[in-house]
Every structure is written in C-alpha cells, then in structure tokens.
C-alpha cells in the first residue's frame, strides 16, 4: 500500500442492511468535522450508502461477511474505501440486480471526484471513492499514517480505529449515537453517548503518541457496549480517571451503567480495555 493512502479512520462492520446507516452516519460526522460544505456532505452520504449497499447486496448475496471502510485524508482530498471479501464482480448476463448495481455505481461516479472499482470473480470488491474537500469549502487536515487491519466484527458490532486528529474524532459520536438509537435507548442515554463520544474524540486529539485508538461498539437488547482498547497497561485507568471532574466526581462512571477496566494478555504482552456500557433506563 502506498503511503498516500493512510486511513484517518477505519471501521469494520458486518454486512447487515442496518449497518449501512452506521457507516454513512459516521462518515458524515467525519466530513462535517473536516469542514465539508453541506451539499458535499450530502453527496458523500449518498455515495457511501450506495457503496455499502453494494457490498451488502452483491458482495455477500444470501450470506454475511465483513465490510471494511477506510477514510483517508490527504491535503484537500477525502478518500473513502469500501471493501468486501465477497463474491466479487461477476461477468454474467444483466439481471435486475446487476442493473441496480450499475445504477448504484454510476451514481457514486457522478457524485464523487474520482471513483475506482476493483474486483474479480470470488476475490471481493473494492470501491475507492474520492472527494475534493474544496468543492464548496475548506478542508484543513493532517497527513495520516496507515492503520493496522482489524479482525472480523461480531454481530451488531462496529470496530473503529481513529488517529489523533480532531476531524477523525468527529465520527465517533455519530457512530455511537446510531448504536444508541438502534438499541432503543432513551434520548437521555443518547445525550450520555454524546458525552462519551466527546471524551473519546478529545482523548484522541490530545494523545501524545500517534497510535490509533481502537473502539469496538456493540448493541444488544436495551444496551450498548463500548470497548476501548487494547490499551497499554495503565492507559485505561488514566482514561477513566480523566473523567473525574472538580466537584462532580467521576462523570463517566456516573453516566454509564458500567465503566471498568479489564485486563488480558495478548501476543504483544499485557493489555487492558476500558469497557463502558449504557443500558435503557
């Protein structure tokens, strides 16, 4: 992979139709954070919807699999890559489904500034969609490095890795709020999720090292779990304690139903996770 494609954020979700909105909403947050004009944000949302729909419908017809979404920002360009490991593009007579696929891809082509499709029979499909952030307005961003790939997400799970950059942090509250909405939690819990999102966003923007922050978000019946890590030993505790605010106690512990540090051993040595949970009231 060349150094110019360096994701500021990477997200992995399972190819269920309801995850289309998660990806779209998250990337809309990213685009807004980059200062994209409203019309451009709309175009990005539509293109992302089409691309992820394509992976859901054509990548894994009749089954499910992982969809990887990466967003990289170079000087004035936002590049979004949507990748599946599914059936690939198949040379066969045009069915209705193929026609809708063509319409979808044509739409992405029309809305984006550059669009590349890569795929072969059985080898998965990769859609690489670029947007000129200056179309409409400014975009002030920093160069990003490459992020490590992530493993297969569970059901109802989105895995996100964000780098230190205010803009990539903007996607986190958006993805979180979509999960809270999906889990049927109240708008008060939604507001709590925003606070958690703000905190994570703030944490990444202040991080001293340039390691990505990994966040796995899962929704179940009446609850959303946010698993942050793997983190170096001590970091999870520091993250949690940074939410102890003067005169208020630990605000993160107060707004969540569970805020705890779990420790595990990984190949790279001991690691810890900060696990947060929001439940319906």
């Amino acid at each position: 992979m060349s150094e110019k494609t360096a994701p500021a954020i990477q997200m992995t979700v399972l190819s269920s139709p309801e995850n289309i909105a998660v990806v779209r909403h998250g990337l809309a947050g990213l685009a807004e954070g980059l200062g994209a004009a409203p019309d451009l944000v709309d175009d990005i949302k539509t293109a992302v919807s089409e691309a992820v729909t394509n992976a859901v419908v054509h990548g894994y017809p009749g089954s499910v699999g992982p969809i990887d979404v990466e967003a990289s920002v170079t000087e004035r360009r936002l590049e979004i890559v949507v990748r599946d490991q599914g059936a690939g593009i198949q040379p066969r007579p045009l069915s209705d489904e193929q026609t809708s696929l063509r319409v979808g891809l044509a739409l992405i082509g029309a809305l984006s500034d550059e669009f590349v499709v890569r795929g072969e029979d059985g080898g998965g499909t990769e859609l690489r969609i670029s947007f000129d952030l200056d179309r409409g307005e400014r975009g002030e961003v920093e160069q990003q490095e490459h992020l490590s790939a992530q493993s297969m997400p569970g059901e109802n799970e989105a895995r996100i890795a964000i780098r230190r950059a205010a803009a990539s942090g903007a996607a986190i509250p958006k993805v979180l709020e979509m999960f809270v909405a999906r889990a049927d939690l109240s708008i008060e819990r939604l507001s709590d999720a925003h606070v958690i999102g703000d905190f994570l966003s703030n944490w990444t923007s202040q991080a001293v090292d340039s390691k990505p922050l990994n966040v796995a978000i899962t929704d179940g019946e009446g609850k959303v779990e946010i698993r942050i890590g793997p983190l170096e030993p001590g970091v999870g505790t520091r993250m949690l304690e940074s939410n102890a605010l003067p005169g208020l106690g630990n605000t993160l512990e107060r707004i969540t139903d569970r805020a705890e540090i779990t420790r595990t051993d990984t190949d790279a040595g001991p690691a810890e996770y900060l696990v947060l949970e929001l439940r319906s009231d």
């Binding site: 909405a181 049927d184 507001s191 606070v195 703000d198 605010l245 005169g247 009231d281």
Partner: protein, 221 residues
Amino acid sequence: MPLARRLASRYRHTGEPMDDLIQVANMALVKAIDRFDPERKTAFSSFAVPTILGELKRYFRDHSWSVHVPRELQERAAKVNKAIEALSKQTGRSPSVKEIATKLDLDLEQVLEALEAAQAFDATSLEAERTGADGSPMRLGDTVGEEEPGFELVEYGASIDPVLAKMPIRTRRILHLRFVEDMTQAQIAKEVGVSQMHVSRIIREALTDLREAVADTEIDG
C-alpha cells in the same frame, strides 16, 4: 486567548465554522477600535465586548440557522421537538429515538439529524441573547439562576472548586443535580424549568469546557 477569539469560541458548538466566527469577531474588533473614543474614559473592553457580541449575534441571525439548515430539516427538527414533548407527557419518561421515529414515520438517522439541528437552533436562539444590561457578557443561566441567590452557598459551602466557580450558576446547578444528586435530565428539566434537550446540551458543553479548563490548569500549574 485574544478577546475576539475568546468571544467567538463561545459559539463553537453551533456548527458554524470556527474560522468564520473568528473572522466576524475580528472584524467587529476592528470596528470597535475605529469607533472607540478614548475621551469617554470607559475601558476599551467594556465597549468592545458588546460590539463584538452584537456582530456575532447578527451573523447568526443572518447566516446560521436559516441559511445553513435546509428548510426541510428545520421543519423536521420542530416536529421532533413536539414529538418528544408529547411522548414524554404520555409516558412520563424521555422517549427513545425509535419511538420518535415511529411516531413521525421517519428513520433513525433522520431523527438523529433533526435532534442535532434542534440543538444547534437552541444554541443560537438562546445563547445569542446573553449580553447584560451594562454590556458585559452574561449567560442566560445567570438570569434564570438568580431566583435562588443562596443556592450556591447552601449547596457547595466554601469548598467550591475554582474551575467550577467560573461557570454560570445555572450550569453549575445542572451539573450538580446530574452528577452529585444523580437526577435524570427530565427531572432536572422540570426542576430548573427548561427542556430536557436544553439540559442535555448544557451538560455536554459544560463537560467539554470543564475538561479543557482542567487540562489548561494542569498545563499552567
């Protein structure tokens, strides 16, 4: 932080690009310098602050909500607000996004967008009105909180934290009710006499401000 930038930063949660806000504030500062009459013997800041805030308010009135937010979204935000009120009354608790979506026949994303727009509107319409009679900057919370002047002393005694002390009284009260008394936003809304949405926004902003303030203190100290 320079004056214009500081005043502009009050509006940073409104979704307006910070650069634009700073530019508006800087232009207003230049205007204030032009118009300032040193003979009058008033401090420059007491003249400049209302001028800059006035320009920022005008900017919002002309540019923000009505221009940037599509009409359809404005209307949707109003509908979502009404639905929250109706559902809360009906069930006695805050509704979920799903419940709002079902009631209005929208999808989850549309409701989330509307909620965000409604909060931005709330921010511009309410916070733009907080210049004191003497021209000094003042938060809405200061006026609303005045009905209970003894509150602060009763609640916190002498131990009030200096960082928290810089916040408007009503914000402090809301934070206290939420984090120390562990009340829900709906309960706080009732107690303080504002909407739950407004409580939610104040908490979100205040925590961000507090985090920044604590970080600043750590750097300074």
